[in-house]
Every structure is written in structure tokens, then in C-alpha cells.
């Protein structure tokens, strides 16, 4: 499945790029995260996704490649769980256009396992919905960040390829969305963290419940300072949800 599109943020390039690479927020806001550890250059995580009627544990791995400062990067997401897997490669490009910033993405998404065989009807819809919501959420987020005017850690991932632990949704459509959302929202922070911290990040404090995300990421973002990562996770969760609902009898 291929997903591509673009989004225009009402924020300058620097704000967007910094927003995309804020490690602190990332670590703090992983919803449902039960475990997050660094293994060398890789971050491995486990997330327990609960969305509506759906629930599932997933192991995730994220790698950021070809990071070009304030320009582009590639995110490779690999998430697996008992219900299936999601793999996605997303190319993200940002470009300042005066007061606004344009983000272009294209991604190749593969969802497999039970989720895909049962939830075929939701693969495309949930992926698209997730991407849309995550970008809108990110936009809100960036506006909130800008408003707070807090100093943001400089994001300059030097590592060629850094893996980030992330809860990767294993649901249909989730992958694409996840990839894009992650790519759009979270990449740099992780890279920065990996480089700067050099030690495993502390276990994440309890994150907002996925239910809240489910209710609508966009609605909530502004007031609660959701990080991009959070959004990504929410997106993933949503994707899962979609998958879960699967193609079943209605009623």
C-alpha cells in the first residue's frame, strides 16, 4: 500500500523541525508503553494498545535513516505482535515557505498477518485517517510549542541510522499511518536522545490513556501539549482499532 500527501503547517521551518526532534517529550508521552530500552543503536519497545474494543501487545523497532538537517529523513518502522505485523518506510521532506512549512511524505506500507487477512476493508481507510489525524495533531502541537516558546533541544542527529523504540501498531492501516506519523512527528527526538543520552532512557511514566487519543487526537492536543510521539502512538492505536474491528458482521 502506498500513501503520499502533503501538509502545510502554519509555523516556520525551524519550529517544525525542532518540533519534530524533541526527545524529552517523546520519552514522556508514549501511551501504553510498558517497556522501552536501548540496545546499542536500537531502541526496542513494547506497547499495550487499548483502543475501543481492541487491545494488543506489540513489539516495535524504529530506525531513522538519511537525516538531512531541516530537509528530510527516512523512517523505517517495524512492529510485530501476535495479531500480525506492520512494516513501513516513509520519506519525509520539509520545506520552509515563509511563515509556513510544507511537509511532503510518501510511504510504502505493508501490513500482514491476522489483522490484514481479517481487516482488509479497513486497511486503506484507517491508514489514511491516521495520517490525516496525526498531521492535524502535529499541527496543533507545533502551535502549542510555539506558544510556549520554550527552548528546544537542538536536533542534529548525526547518526546515519538510529533505531528508536516505539510502540508500533500492528494493525491494518496502522503501519502506514504509523510510519508517516512517526516519521512526521517523532524521528529526530529519538535520534538526539540516542546520541546524547548514551544510556537507556528511563521507563516512561504513565502516558495518557489511549482512550483519550481515540476520542480524537486533534481535539486534545492543544491543551495537553501532546508530543508528536504521542500523536504517533495515538495514530498507531487508531490504526490498531481499525484493524481490530475487522471485517465482521455488522450489528
Amino acid at each position: 500500500m502506498k500513501l503520499e500527501g502533503n501538509y502545510s503547517f502554519e509555523a516556520p521551518l525551524d519550529t517544525v523541525w525542532q518540533g519534530l526532534f524533541d526527545p524529552e517529550v517523546l520519552a514522556r508521552t508514549l501511551p501504553g508503553c510498558e517497556k522501552l530500552e536501548r540496545q546499542g543503536d536500537q531502541f526496542l519497545g513494547q506497547i499495550n494498545v487499548k483502543m475501543g474494543p481492541v487491545q494488543g501487545k506489540f513489539q516495535g523497532k524504529v530506525e531513522l535513516q538519511n537525516v538531512k538537517e531541516r530537509e528530510s529523513y527516512t523512517m523505517v518502522v517495524d512492529g510485530r505482535g501476535p495479531a500480525g505485523f506492520a512494516k513501513a518506510t516513509a520519506n519525509i521532506r520539509v520545506k520552509g515557505e515563509g511563515a509556513t512549512t510544507r511537509l511532503d511524505y510518501d510511504s510504502d506500507v505493508q501490513v500482514g498477518g491476522r489483522i490484514a487477512s481479517v481487516g482488509q476493508r479497513l486497511l486503506d481507510a484507517s491508514s489514511r485517517a491516521i495520517v490525516k489525524q496525526s498531521l492535524e495533531g502535529l499541527h496543533e502541537q507545533l502551535k502549542a510549542l510555539a506558544a510556549r516558546a520554550a527552548p528546544v533541544a537542538a536536533a542534529a542527529p548525526a547518526a546515519e541510522s538510529v533505531a528508536v523504540a516505539a510502540a508500533v501498531p500492528v494493525t491494518a492501516g496502522a503501519p502506514a499511518a504509523a510510519a508517516v506519523a512517526l516519521a512526521a512527528a517523532v524521528p529526530a527526538p529519538v535520534a538526539a536522545e540516542a546520541r546524547a543520552a548514551g544510556a537507556p532512557p528511563a521507563p516512561l511514566p504513565s502516558a495518557p490513556s489511549q482512550a483519550a487519543f481515540a476520542m480524537g487526537v486533534a481535539k486534545e492536543v492543544g491543551k495537553d501539549l501532546l508530543t508528536p510521539k504521542n500523536i504517533v502512538l495515538a495514530v498507531l492505536a487508531m490504526a490498531l482499532l481499525g484493524l481490530l474491528i475487522s471485517r465482521l458482521a455488522s450489528g
Binding site: M1, R80, P82, G84, F85, K87, Q110, V111, G112, G113, R114, A116, S117, V118, Q120, R121, R247, L248, A249
Partner: protein
């Protein structure tokens, strides 16, 4: 096992020196009285009382003391390396007994691979790589099926995903190798040909008209309502393996198990209980069966394995998957002359088709159909891809559906191109009834036929001329209506020993009849009913031959300890083979009965004649002995020079296949706004030779028609580019309900087989074979004037809508 390679088809069947001419009729005549209920009677089925009261016994109904349950962990990838299988968490669950992996099977004697029916190999459980989505990775054995399911979720398999190859055309480039375990480093499995290329080239060079089309016949699934399953029960003390399994061919499976496991064959008993539909899906041996049997050997306990529907729809029982390029030639007058066909057969990861050994493309070369072509050149290539093995029949005699769909589509395209009425065009081109027995240019000897009679009858039944008039009127108003014809030739009843075998075992079949002293009987046969009504039809055959009431004949099948060896039920072979064997065994009994009757009546055998249920003295019918009296005498008062008892066995080797045929006409209305297709009428005239039980034959035809409608309009197994099956449940693999299935209208002609003992031909699959092109032809007929030449099945409203919009029709 060697690859089957570069083979061309050879036939040994010859046109008989003194061919028997047969007449075509359309009335079933019952010669026996209702009390006897021999052939031709609409007898209510003997097996039904148990089914309508919930007393059928299917494999999942078998419950043995101490039985454990097996569930299978399956691959989420179509192609991946297995780095690690961690079953430690699963084993911690209370009630989990074992987790069996490919390594375990290897250690148990290289059981991690098994032979397929086509002498290829197939992984049972993989050790280093998975090759298709939903492949069996390991099996969990537990005390309860719920616990087994829980444990499967706890097994962690670490994969390194690999790029799969899903499209057979891509696979032929050999950039990704599906079977690294094979000596030959290619995905090309075999090449096979039939006909005569040079002669065909010559015919095409002379042709005035040539039509060309690409036709894809997608992968479909038999989806019998009962899935596959097994209960294996290894008795350590007796060193005896008792297996209940959903098997259409229990004897052949016993032999395969013996060869694979090394257990002596007499220590293996396979019982095929009631089967909830087979349609070819229960012919192959699947990995689950092997693992289940091994699990019983390992644990010493009975093990039950029953597939879920989604496992069934994703891992086994697949059919078709033929990519066809066809060219059909005709001369100036519109006489069909030649056929050229190139086909790619997508085998999946193994050539596990359920075909006779020497026919890797099944009986596909029957594809010259009902037409006396001068030459044909048929080429088929088998290709490996990262999909589960396919090639089961789906209610079809080995690829005949593919053949018939192709030729009937091509003939229709030719007729339309030449602006000829498709019915008139067929009538002008058929093999004439006086040409039978007819040897086709691909080597088949058609035993009998009268194609024009069947089409004539169908046209009358449906008022063909009236429909064409209606169509013209509607077209003038912009309404879309189509009429489609299919005049198919089937080939069933495999088969003659000279050409037909499965893993070397000749495709005879068998019957054993014992008459008890009180004149009741038991008959055991080598076939296995999956709903065809064998308990009734075989009893009627024996009733016809011996005059015993059919109700007095108990028919048994499916237990390899008691039934004579046979190859099983598929490919419409039961009546042509075991049915024939039953008649022949009955005739042996009758021959002995005659001796006994002569002894009792104190006359010479030459003075006796047979009359329905008795031998009577010629010219003196009062002097007679009924079969019951003779049976009693066989145990109480038999001739001193004759053995006691009254029984016989027959292993019947058919001299030729049988060639049922028919003509179907379908009428469709198409909604130009939505592309919706409404099958308004469907008339099916079938000729299956002499009919044993008209009620059962009607049921077979109606059921077959719905299974022909299904792939024509609904069913397709869809994979994405990564080999992920997207149709893994009945919610996405669409089986027709009573609402989608029209009311079928049946007619018949009867052209008996000249070589079959009672002139029957086999019927269960003709409608599945004949219906799809009739439907497809009707839809294309409705759209032809817009410029639509062909649509691949399943023809969905979406495809029709697309064609309409592309050709400027908009609601």
C-alpha cells in the same frame, strides 16, 4: 522427488474398432418396480435420516478418551527466515503438553518434508524459512482446544522478512528463488504440451479469422462448510495407528502415510467418517494431518486437529490460478480450425495439485471442447510462487473448468466478431453426433455425444428466439440484457490404468458385495461420498443388477480396514469407476446365482433367464427362484461342487474415460448505473448418460451450478503484492446464499456411454465446469455492442461498472 519436466501428453486410448452407436433420448426409464428401486427411480436418500436429525458423524464429532488438541502457529509473512522459535512461555501454560517444530519432525526421521501427489515435495513444518503466508510454523498440543489457542499466542517466532514473489510472470525471471532446497535453481517447475505445434502453425497460416484473448482464471477455494481435520490415535501397545480424517481418498492416504512414516501399512487404519463437503479440497495431504499423526505417535495419545475457517481459507484447498493466452482460428466460412494456447499454472510453493501423475496440467488438453478442430497446440508451464500450494479440483475433473472456460469464451468471441449468432455458430461447428466415437486433435477419444440435441433443447426451453427479440428491443431503449451460451464437453471417470495413476497407483476403483443368507446385502466400495449420495446410488445399482430392494443393501465406504482398495471420490469418478465395479461385482454374483438356481430348479443354466429379481425357466416363468431364495440356498443348500456363500469383488479398470456434455443458456440484466448483474434465468441441459437416481442427479446439477455461479461472479482468493491473503474469512471470500443463487431450470438428454457397464457417465462436476462461461458470455453479450470483448471472472459489479464507464455509459 524428481521434477516433472518438459513432457508432452500421450494417450493410449484408441477409437474402438467396432464402435457402438448410441441414440439420444430424454426420458429416464426405470426397469425395476418401485419395491426394488433400481436405476431410474427417484429414491429418497438412505443416508438422510441421520443428517436431518443431527446424527451425522463428522471428524470433529469424534471424541476419544484422553484426547488432546492441536493448534497451529502460522506465518504472518509470505517469505521470511526463521531466526528463532521460542515456545518457553507457551509451555508454561497449564495444560500445554508439547510444542512441535520442524526440527522435531526432522529428528523424527526427516518428516519435515512430505511428498505431494505430483511427486514434488512440500514442507510439513519449516526449519529455516517460511515460504507462504499462513504456513504452518509449529504446532501446540494441549488438553483443551482453548488452551491450545492460548498457547499459540504465546509462541514467539523471530522472523527476518524476505521479499516474496507473488506473480508467476515475475517468478519466471528467477530473481527470487522460492525453493532453495531444490536442486534446480529455478521457479520453473515443468513444461508440458499437447497437440501438434507444426500442424497448428499450418492451420493458423491458412486461417481467415483469428481471435486472441488473455484469460485469467483466478485462484479460488473450495470452502466446503466443514474444514479439514483429523483425529489420530496411536496405540502404543498394539502398535496401531487409527486415523479419522476428512479424506476423499482414504486408501491412497493410508499408502502415503505408510510410505512417509515408515509404519507398516496394515498397522494404519484410516476412517473417513461423514464429510461435510469435499469438492477436491480433501484429496491432498496437508501438513496439519502429518503433524497431527506425528503428535499422536510422540505423545501416545489421541490428538484432534480441526482447522478454523480462516486457516482453511488461507493455507489449503486452493484451485485454478491459470494465466491463459489463447488464439482461435477459423476459415472463411466460419468453420473453427485451430487453437493455440499458452498457459502459466501458478503452483504456489509446491506442485501439490491433485492430478493423475502423468498429467501435470490435468485434463486441460480437453480444451478443444465440443468442436472438431483440425489442430491444437497447448503449452503449459508450472511455476513456483510464494503462495500456498494450489491445484485442487474445486468440483472439477482436473483442470477441465479452465479448459472449458477458455474455449467457450473464445468461441463466443469468434461468433461475435464474425457477427454470427452464438447459438447458430455453435450448431454449425459442433462435432456431429455421427462422428462419435470421436478422436480429438489432442488425443482424447470422446465416447459419445450429441451436442446439437442438447443445445436445441436448451434453446426451446428458454425460448431463445424470443429472448433475442427482447434483447434487441431493450437495446434500442438503452437497456442492457445479455444471453450467454456454454456448450461444454466434460471428461471424467479417471481412469484407464494405462494412462492414469496417482503416485503410481492405477486409478481403478472397487466394489465388494456380500449377500447375507436372508437376502440382505452389504456393499463396500473404494470411493468415499462427501454428499453425493453413494449409500443410495450404489444400492440402486446393485438393486438394478440383482433385484434386491435398494433398501436391503447397506453401503459402506471410508474405512480402509474393511473397504476394498480404491482411489476415492473426486473428478466425478465414482459412478464411472466404483459404480461400474458395483455392477460388475453384482454380475459376478448373478453368474453364481444362476448356477445355484439351475441346481435348485434342476435345469441347465442355459434354460434360465434373468427377470428383474429372479432366474426363471425360459418359457415357464412360474418356475423361478428369487435372488433371496438363491441367497438362502447359497448358505444352506448350494450345489456340492460350488463354494458356499454369495459374494464378489471387482476392481474395475475403465476402458476409457466418459464424456458428459451439456448446453447452458444464461440470461442476465445489467444495471447500467451500478454495474449490478442479475441472473434472470439459467437453463441447464445436461447429458450424463444413463441416470441412476434422477433426484440425486438434479441435486448434483443444481449444486454444481451454484458452485459455477460462485467463481463466475463472486469468489476469488486475493493476495496483495507481499503475498498476504486478503480474503481470509467468509466475510471477504464470498459464497453465494439463496439470494444470490437463481432458481435453476434443468433439462436433460440421455446419450449413454457405450463402454460403461450401464451407460452412465458421471455428473457432479459438469455444471461447475459449464456454468461460468455461460454467465461470462451472457454478461459480455450484454456489453459487446459497447465495445467490451472480455471480462475476467469473477465478473463483479465493479468490473462491469468500470467497463460501462470506459465505454461511455453513465446513469
Amino acid at each position: 522427488m524428481p521434477h516433472l519436466q518438459d513432457r508432452s501428453e500421450k494417450h493410449t486410448a484408441k477409437v474402438p474398432e467396432a464402435p457402438v452407436r448410441v441414440e439420444t433420448t430424454d426420458e429416464v426409464v426405470a426397469k425395476t418396480p418401485a419395491k426394488v428401486c433400481g436405476m431410474g427411480h427417484r429414491m429418497k436418500r438412505k443416508e438422510d435420516p441421520r443428517f436431518i436429525q443431527g446424527k451425522g458423524r463428522y471428524v470433529d464429532d469424534v471424541k476419544l478418551p484422553g484426547m488432546l488438541y492441536m493448534d497451529i502457529v502460522r506465518s504472518p509473512y509470505a517469505h521470511a527466515k526463521i531466526l528463532k522459535i521460542d515456545s518457553s512461555e507457551a509451555l508454561k501454560l497449564p495444560g500445554v503438553v508439547a510444542v512441535i517444530t520442524g526440527q522435531d519432525l526432522k529428528a523424527a526421521g526427516n518428516l519435515h518434508y512430505m511428498p505431494t501427489l505430483m511427486s514434488d515435495t512440500q514442507p510439513v513444518l519449516p526449519i529455516d524459512k517460511v515460504l507462504y503466508y499462513a504456513q504452518e510454523v509449529c504446532a501446540v498440543i494441549a488438553t483443551d482446544r482453548y488452551i491450545a489457542a492460548d498457547a499459540c499466542e504465546k509462541v514467539v517466532v523471530d522472523y527476518e522478512p524476505l521479499q516474496p514473489v507473488v506473480d508467476p510472470h515475475e517468478a519466471l525471471k528467477d530473481q527470487i528463488l522460492v525453493r532453495e532446497d531444490k536442486e534446480k535453481k529455478t521457479n520453473h517447475v515443468w513444461h508440458w504440451s499437447a497437440g501438434d505445434k507444426a500442424a497448428t502453425d499450418a492451420v493458423f497460416a491458412q486461417a481467415a479469422h483469428v481471435v486472441k484473448e488473455k484469460i485469467y482464471i483466478p485462484r479460488i477455494h473450495v470452502c466446503s462448510i466443514e474444514t479439514c481435520g483429523m483425529v489420530a490415535n496411536w496405540d502404543r501397545a498394539r502398535e496401531h495407528m487409527q486415523i479419522y480424517m476428512t479424506s476423499q481418498a482414504p486408501h491412497a492416504h493410508r499408502t502415503v502415510f505408510a510410505l512417509v512414516s515408515g509404519l507398516p501399512e496394515h498397522k494404519i487404519q484410516i476412517i473417513s467418517p461423514d464429510i461435510g463437503g469435499g469438492f477436491g479440497g480433501k484429496v491432498p495431504v496437508y501438513p496439519g494431518y502429518v503433524v497431527c499423526a506425528v503428535a499422536s505417535l510422540v505423545t501416545g495419545k489421541p490428538i484432534k486437529w480441526i482447522e478454523d475457517r480462516s486457516e482453511n481459507l488461507q493455507a489449503d484447498s486452493f484451485a485454478r490460478d491459470y494465466h491463459i493466452e489463447a488464439e482461435l482460428a477459423a476459415d472463411e466460412s466460419g468453420k473453427l480450425t485451430g487453437l493455440r494456447v499458452k498457459t502459466i499454472s501458478d503452483c504456489g510453493v509446491a506442485d501439490a495439485a491433485a492430478n493423475p501423475s502423468k498429467f501435470p496440467a490435468g485434463l486441460y488438453s480437453i480444451c478443444t471442447g465440443s468442436y472438431p478442430l483440425l489442430a491444437a497446440d497447448i503449452q503449459v508451464d508450472g511455476v513456483y510462487t510464494n503462495k500456498p500450494p494450489g491445484g485442487v479440483a474445486y468440483r472439477c475433473s482436473f483442470r477441465v473448468t479452465e479448459a472449458v472456460h477458455m474455449i467457450e469464451r473464445m468461441v463466443d468471441i469468434m461468433a461475435h466478431d464474425l457477427k454470427r449468432d452464438p447459438a447458430e455458430f455453435r450448431l454449425a461447428n459442433f462435432i456431429r453426433s455421427d462422428q462419435f466415437p470421436y478422436k480429438s486433435c489432442t488425443g482424447w477419444v470422446y465416447d459419445s455425444g450429441n451436442y446439437a440435441a442438447a443445445l436445441d433443447k436448451a434453446m426451446k426451453m428458454i425460448d431463445y428466439a424470443g429472448l433475442r427479440k427482447e434483447q434487441a428491443e431493450k437495446r434500442a431503449k438503452g437497456q442492457l440484457m445479455g444471453i450467454g451460451i456454454s456448450s461444454f464437453t466434460e471428461v471424467v471417470g479417471a481412469g484407464p490404468a494405462a494412462d492414469f495413476d496417482i503416485l503410481g497407483i492405477k486409478m481403478f476403483d472397487s466394489a465388494e458385495i456380500r449377500i447375507h443368507p436372508t437376502g440382505k446385502a452389504i456393499a463396500r466400495l473404494g470411493t468415499k461420498s462427501q454428499g453425493q449420495g453413494h449409500e443410495t446410488t450404489y444400492a440402486q445399482i446393485i438393486a438394478e443388477e440383482l433385484g434386491l430392494p435398494a433398501t436391503d443393501v447397506q453401503v459402506e465406504e471410508g474405512d480402509t480396514d474393511t473397504a476394498p482398495y480404491g482411489l476415492g471420490t473426486y473428478a466425478s469418478r465414482s459412478t464411472p469407476t466404483s459404480g461400474a465395479a458395483a455392477a460388475m461385482a453384482a454380475r459376478k454374483i448373478r453368474a453364481k446365482a444362476k448356477k445355484i438356481a439351475a441346481y435348485l430348479l434342476e435345469v441347465g443354466e442355459g434354460d434360465l433367464e434373468w427377470n428383474i429379481d429372479r432366474f426363471q425357466v425360459k418359457g415357464s416363468p412360474d418356475q423361478a427362484k428369487t435372488i433371496q431364495e438363491i441367497a438362502f440356498a447359497a448358505y444352506t443348500n448350494h450345489p456340492p461342487d460350488l463354494e458356499a456363500g454369495l459374494e464378489a469383488t471387482d476392481y474395475y479398470n475403465p476402458p476409457n474415460l466418459t464424456f458428459p456434455f451439456g448446453s447452458y443458456i444464461c440470461v442476465v440484466d445489467i444495471d447500467s448505473g451500478t454495474g449490478a448483474i442479475h441472473v434472470r434465468r439459467f437453463v441447464a441441459v445436461d447429458d450424463c448418460g444413463n441416470i441412476i437416481n434422477p433426484l440425486i442427479v438434479e441435486g448434483q446439477i443444481e449444486g454444481g451450478l451454484t458452485m459455477g455461479l460462485a467463481p463466475a461472479l463472486f469468489e476469488e482468493i486475493v493476495y496483495d503484492e507481499n503475498g498476504q491473503n486478503l480474503t481470509g474469512t467468509m466475510a471477504d471470500y464470498l459464497l453465494p446464499t439463496a439470494m444470490e443463487s437463481p432458481r435453476w431450470e434443468l433439462g436433460k438428454t440421455i446419450t449413454p456411454s457405450p463402454h460403461h457397464p450401464f451407460g452412465a457417465k458421471g455428473v457432479g462436476e459438469s455444471p461447475t465446469v459449464g456454468a461460468p462461461p455461460a454467465i461470462a458470455n451472457a454478461i459480455v453479450d450484454a456489453l459487446w455492442h459497447l465495445g467490451v470483448r472480455h471480462l475476467d471472472i469473477p465478473i463483479t459489479p465493479h468490473k462491469v461498472w468500470k467497463a460501462l464507464r470506459e465505454h461511455g455509459v453513465r446513469d
